[in-house]
Symmetry: none
Subunit: 414 residues, 2 copies
């Protein structure tokens, strides 16, 4: 039975980079394996959402997995919660959180609390919120809740049952502004908004006097004394990929958000040591795990994060180097994967080095496998893929194209 | 901060023309500046609405400005009114008007009253209608109204408040047919239909006996004794471009209809002397005005009309000559525009010389700017642009693509 690997190179598509001689990182990188598959397979350009639209990683992955984000996107909160390993029912409301530093007037001084949070601090922050703040709120509002730090300054707050997602952010989104009041955006959200505003007050009070902040002050660091909330949302009921495309799917992703999306869509998460979405990720082990997973799944999704992180940092050569290490991993995959495996490679969006942010540029797409059409494209890049068999597709088409090769799709009509 | 110029060459896309040696006017014209930008930038083909659909200039521009015409098009009347400088509220109903010649049985002899209307005649027509016809109707129906001639035989009638746009045309659209009765197309349109039929009778009576028609008869011309109405509609409430794309937009357009669309979408109209949408338009001055406008706007739209008019007249060499004069204007623009300016060139539809009417053929699209991908296309034409980076886009994508380069678009998701 045929099976498929889908590799998403996060933010890998780019624009010409001066320090790479006007090439894009994909054009500059030496990637013999990816380019051999490209020469043997067929290519195209892909608009992840539609031309010019700048996708987030969340909406982009939803689209690529076949779920129209305009219909299915529930805001960042629920996906962050899933990625953190929290279980969510559709009646829960999840908020994306940032730990932050505010002054006495609740003016935001640092939206990320210095970004790197020490593991001991993470534990203390979670303790204060889960053991002091949330129980006090529970006795006042009768609402169960849980708070968890995820990566660096990021966290998630989940309110369980009887609440509304229609409340505005407390995160003012810029430094120098005051923490916002949560406002009810619909008539049933009054209590939730009150709860959130009380949460803001209590978090400030309890964190400000927490012991770890004494130490931070002694070390000359700003205190972590606020949790900024945004992107309130409830999880939709997704039809799982298994029934939608009649596949048995698995996901290898170091980033909580992406793994969370996969899990919400019914993919089995596969853990890989030293694969956490950082620039030191072990791609060879990840690709080996993918090859192994294809022995009892017919679809494995492998997410590569640091191509995106390198772009956000403006590191063109670093980005090219990540591509080269992915290429090495892919070579190992080819040695170990079942022989009837199709391979698809694309990106969830462009993150051009010159912009350092996600953009709405089209991204390259490649399909390889026993009976995939061979076109004239011999290099996997933004410019080369124009001339390929797939010309121009959209993110929402990817799973249908994959299922078409796997032969799992129901015929539409007779 | 980056900024953008969008040039629409009205009806410029074409089909092969025998007298140009089988080339299209874009292939035939010598246009070194446009072709240099093409060589340095990236191209594609664009379906303005969707493949094969013949757009009007109004629906085409709505689409290119990002407003789905199937959702937003209110009929020709409201845009003609805006273009004529009339203020419209959403409760007003506007009709596109033609002054015409009819015989004693109200059979249309000339749908355009000879097309060229002398300024003194325009004044008299407006006088008769605004001072004799409309006041009589006001006293009978209590409806305020205003009539205005725009360009040549074209005019606009606006009924203010308490009326319905759901009435059929009085314009039979062909010569040799009788002026049509306006029919109510919904139950609330009965009074409006009665009003319009009374308007037809009164206009015929009052214009027939007007003094300027005595002179026309003496000069051997048919009288201008009818106003044919069509395209009744009310203006929608458009979200302005400024909030939709977070830009400060301006428009340079000689044609009232196009300027009207721009104004309705919140563009600041910029007047250019000797730029009225005729074949004698001063493109160099228009492009200079565009360069100047980009100093305090981040988006300037420049409309080129006579490429379309030349096609309607079947003048292939004239069309090529217009393209060459536009090219000269663009060279001047490059000398005077801010250095961080992106340039986008496309057409609102094809008007092939061999057809002399709008067609639904795809049109070329070009993007140029500091970090725009350079593809292999070196000439801006229907056939060359196929091979470009943008492969195939739609009119509705243009503003998203522009905003993507300007970096003004909100990210969708995180």
């Amino acid at each position: 039975m045929p099976r498929a690997l889908l590799v998403i190179l996060d933010g890998c598509a780019d624009r010409p980079v001066k320090e790479l001689g006007g090439k894009t990182p994909l054009e500059f990188a030496v990637k013999p394996t990816i380019d051999r598959l490209t020469a043997e397979g067929s290519c195209g350009l892909m608009d992840v959402i539609s031309p010019g639209i700048r996708p987030g990683s969340d909406t982009a992955h939803l689209a690529i997995f076949g779920y129209d984000p305009y219909k299915y996107y529930p805001g960042r909160g629920p996906f962050e919660a899933l990625g953190a390993g929290l279980m969510l029912s559709p009646s829960d409301v999840a908020f994306r959180a940032n730990v932050a530093t505010v002054n006495n007037d609740l003016i935001v001084v640092d939206r990320r609390g210095g970004r790197y949070i020490d593991p001991s601090e993470v534990k203390e922050i979670e303790n204060v919120i889960n053991n002091e703040v949330l129980p006090a709120l529970k006795s006042k509002y009768g609402i169960d809740a849980v708070y968890k730090q995820t990566v660096e300054h990021r966290g998630v707050l989940v309110l369980k049952g009887g609440v509304s997602p229609h409340v505005s952010d407390t995160d003012p989104h810029v430094i120098g502004a005051k923490v916002s009041e949560a406002k009810a955006l619909s008539s049933d959200a009054k209590i939730t908004a009150d709860y959130i505003n009380e949460f803001t007050r209590l978090v400030y009070e309890k964190l400000s006097s927490a012991e770890f902040n004494e130490k931070r002050r002694r070390d000359g660091k700003g205190p972590i004394n606020m949790v900024l909330l945004r992107g309130a949302g409830s999880l939709k009921n997704f039809e799982p990929l298994s029934s939608r495309y009649r596949i048995k799917p698995a996901i290898i992703a170091g980033v909580a958000l992406i793994r969370g999306i996969g899990v919400a869509l019914g993919m089995e998460p596969i853990h890989v040591d030293n694969y956490i979405g950082s620039k030191d990720d072990d791609f060879t082990t990840a690709f080996q795990a993918a090859a192994r997973a294809l022995k009892d799944h017919d679809f494995v999704f492998l997410h590569v994060k640091p191509t995106d992180s390198m772009s956000h940092d403006g590191d063109a050569e670093g980005k090219a180097m990540i591509i080269e290490r992915v290429d090495t991993g892919l070579r190992r995959f080819l040695e170990e994967a079942p022989s009837d495996t199709y391979i698809f490679i694309t990106c969830d969006h462009a993150t051009p080095i010159v912009v350092k942010e996600h953009t709405g540029d089209p991204v390259p797409f490649m399909a390889w496998g026993p009976d995939v059409m061979r076109d004239d494209v011999t290099r996997f890049s933004e410019r080369d893929c124009i001339k390929g068999f797939w010309t121009r597709i959209r993110g929402i088409d990817v799973m249908n194209i994959i299922a078409n090769y796997l032969g799992t799709l129901e015929k539409f009509g007779e």
